[in-house]
């Protein structure tokens, strides 16, 4: 019986010991798993372009991970992140803005969230990163230190800039196309150019028009400019003023202007607005304008058809 009691006790002890062993083993396995998870996490952070840095307010690095080193582009310089311990942040990067800007934010608010931060790597490449951090106590000395997570967003930034540049280029190209469309210069004969105006004329277009016309006069050595306003349906004082300036500018360039294609409505408006265009030669249509321009240059149109009829 006593044997039996003893054996019972023994069995119990053994059972307890076995249980303890299992718990220990479980702990070991758990610890192992933990380290694996943390290793995986570390790898994940690295791939995602995220890095962690622990540093003092004076910039001294306490610990840094591989991800952060990757962002700083220092992986090849410091293969072991522990080698960076004790270095200053200023040794790892080149400040582009004011030094300590971020640290003053952290000191004031106790944390920094989603702060866009740009810097240059020691090798000279510009980097953008998002910075999140908060202040913790050093486990041994108790002083305030900064725990920061930085995310590299350089690629996104560059892609954005590229996108913006492309968009700007498209806009510019379209604007150029519209400008060219809106102010064509048509050389009809030696010394005569026609400039048809279409649509509304604002001050921006008027300036463009004036420049194009001046360039056209120089290019074609024009002595007469026919400004055809058939395509202008509405006229106000502003437009008349712009046209006036254009005509004066053409004159200073040595060319005289004939305005053609004034519709009934436009003529009415001009009179009603009390605008004096008496000094400017205006004709009803382009045909009349062209004939007047030819006459002024001493060129005459002669029909050859009538000559042949007579010779027959």
């Amino acid at each position: 019986m006593a044997d039996l009691e003893m054996s019972k006790q023994e069995i119990l002890d053994e059972l307890l010991a076995a249980q303890q062993e299992i718990t220990d083993l479980k702990a070991v396995i758990a610890a192992h798993d933990d380290s694996r998870i943390s290793m995986n996490q570390q790898k994940m952070l690295e791939v995602a372009g995220v890095g962690m840095v622990l540093y003092k307010f004076d910039g001294t690095v306490l610990s840094i991970d591989r991800g952060a080193l990757k962002i700083f582009d220092l992986e090849d310089v410091y293969p072991d992140p522990r080698a960076v311990q004790g270095k200053k942040m200023g040794d790892l990067m080149v400040y582009t803005g004011r030094r300590g800007r971020l640290r003053s934010i952290i000191r004031e608010q106790g944390k920094a969230q989603n702060v866009l931060y740009d810097f240059k790597t020691v090798k000279g490449d510009l980097r953008w990163c998002l910075h999140d951090s908060y202040v913790i106590q050093h486990p041994e000395t108790g002083e305030d230190i900064i725990q920061a997570i930085i995310r590299d967003i350089t690629e996104q930034k560059l892609a954005e800039a590229e996108q913006e540049r492309l968009q700007q280029e498209i806009i510019e190209a379209q604007q150029r196309a519209i400008q060219e469309l809106s102010t064509p210069i048509i050389p009809v004969m030696d010394g005569i150019i026609v400039m048809p105006l279409v649509g509304s004329i604002d001050s921006l277009r008027a300036k463009d028009l004036l420049r194009t016309l001046l360039e056209g006069i120089t290019h074609y050595r024009a002595r007469v400019v026919i400004l055809d306003v058939t395509g202008v349906s509405i006229v106000d004082t502003g437009i008349v003023n712009h046209l006036d300036k254009t005509i004066q500018a053409a004159r200073l360039k040595g060319a005289r202007t004939i305005v053609t294609g004034i519709s009934d409505a436009v003529a009415e408006t001009i009179v009603d607005l009390g605008i004096d265009w008496g000094k400017i030669q205006t004709l009803s249509n382009l045909q009349a304008g062209l004939l007047a321009a030819l006459r002024s240059l001493g060129i005459q149109l002669v029909s050859t058809a009538s000559n042949t009829t007579h010779s027959d």
Partner: protein
């Protein structure tokens, strides 16, 4: 006898070379940066040369000028008035696009000064209308415009 000492100002030394005779024209190349004191001496020198060569036209060539202010407009106007008193006429040429733009914005349209594109045009004009007497009136002169006078009146545009 025309080289009076009165006219040979020190300020003129740099300007004199810009006045040249070209047939009936007196070609005046206006320097890029015309100083106030140079304007006075340039005006005098031009009038002196008109008398020397019996020039009928004074061509002010502005191809070197790329800056324009209100003083610039007054310079052209005063030059035109002074030249007219000696029986010749002022033509301006070679105004740059940017200068014209500014002039138009400032309202300096110089309504009674004839403008041409460049020297070629000026020469062609002076050849066509070469025989302008000193006592030709303003209206007669206007009718002698380069283009057919029955259609246009250049001094009116």
């Amino acid at each position: 006898m025309f080289m009076d000492d009165d006219f040979t100002d020190d300020a003129m030394s740099g300007v004199a070379s810009t006045i040249q005779k070209l047939e009936d024209l007196l070609l005046v190349t206006v320097p890029r940066d015309l100083m106030d004191d140079q304007v006075l001496s340039l005006r005098r020198e031009v009038v002196k040369h008109i008398r020397l060569y019996n020039s009928l036209w004074v061509l002010l060539d502005f191809s070197q000028v790329d800056i324009c202010d209100s003083y610039f407009g007054r310079f052209i106007q005063s030059m035109a008035n002074m030249v007219r008193l000696t029986g010749a006429r002022v033509i301006i040429s070679g105004l740059q696009d940017a200068v014209i733009e500014t002039m138009v914005e400032l309202g300096m349209t110089l309504p009674d000064v004839r403008a041409v594109l460049d020297l070629d045009e000026a020469l062609a004009m002076s050849r066509t209308n070469g025989k302008v007497d000193a006592d030709t009136s303003e209206t007669e002169l206007a009718e002698l415009s380069f283009l057919d006078s029955s259609t246009f009146d250049f001094f009116e545009v």
